[in-house]
Symmetry: C2
Subunit: 134 residues, 2 copies
DNA sequence: GTTGAATCTCACATGGATGTGAGGTTCTAG
DNA sequence: CTAGAACCTCACATCCATGTGAGATTCAAC
């Protein structure tokens, strides 16, 4: 599988795939001419990397976790494992924050809908209130 | 309340507060000499902005939503309201993705713990498996 | 073979929030 | 009134994943 194929199958740009490799997050075999080749496993790997990126981890952080992801063995350094737990905890906190934000957006939507519905029944009732925080 | 105080109370840098104002997200009154002044409401406002930033919204997007946040009335433009709903939906999707990632990190942690515990009972058992995806 | 698409490396550009520093003005405590 | 802390504007720097373009090479199909 060539880099263009992998890009197509993962929805990640060719540029990004090269970047992941440069960061040590993804490896490839090379054809005699120097072109990269990937096996099926690469697809899952890239998808997983994307999820970690989406979770806010940097390349550096992902790299430091990699031992735990690849071979979750006793040989894995304590520090890698500690970082893994740390990132997990940060993610929990982050999700909690987002969930709160979601709730307040929902309240806001409900409120807006109400106001809009009211204005259908009773036109020219404008700007009836002010809400800075949700 | 001066900008330094607001920064201290919100944990946001002075630089960022000025930036928010520049983006039209936060306003202030000015002293005769040009120094910014804020009231208590500013604290909540900044906290809320931070939450929206943390949810991945850009300044531009927040700006476009602002009418809905500030005066959730019928007068609010349809497009602002539509964007609000759209951002809510994106946030839901994002949270779902993060939750999946969290689950796989949790599995990974459990797996690592198991391996590590096993190695205490049975030293020199190394690298017993490989897991690329969580 | 030949051609055209895909790939290679290198390196500079981008965007968005924030950092940083210069040079100057304003505020507040003593 | 004065010292120094805090503030002002302006503008350039930073980070990091990604975009983009140039110039050269390789691969696949005919």
């Amino acid at each position: 599988m060539r880099i263009g194929d992998l890009a197509a199958r993962t929805g990640v740009s060719v540029r990004s795939l090269r970047y992941y490799e440069e960061q040590g997050l993804l490896d490839s075999s090379r054809s005699p001419g120097g072109h990269r080749h990937y096996d099926e496993e690469g697809v899952d790997r890239v998808a997983y990397l994307q999820r970690l990126y989406a979770a806010g981890l940097s390349s550096q952080t992902i790299l430091s976790l990699l031992p735990c992801l690849e071979s979750p063995s006793a040989a894995t350094s304590d520090s890698a494992f500690d970082r893994l737990v740390e990132e997990r905890d940060k993610l929990v906190t982050h999700i909690a924050g987002l969930t709160r934000t979601l709730e307040s957006l929902d309240e806001l939507i409900t409120l807006n809908r109400k106001r809009r519905a009211a204005s259908v029944a009773d036109p020219d009732s404008g700007e009836p209130g002010r809400t800075t925080q949700g």
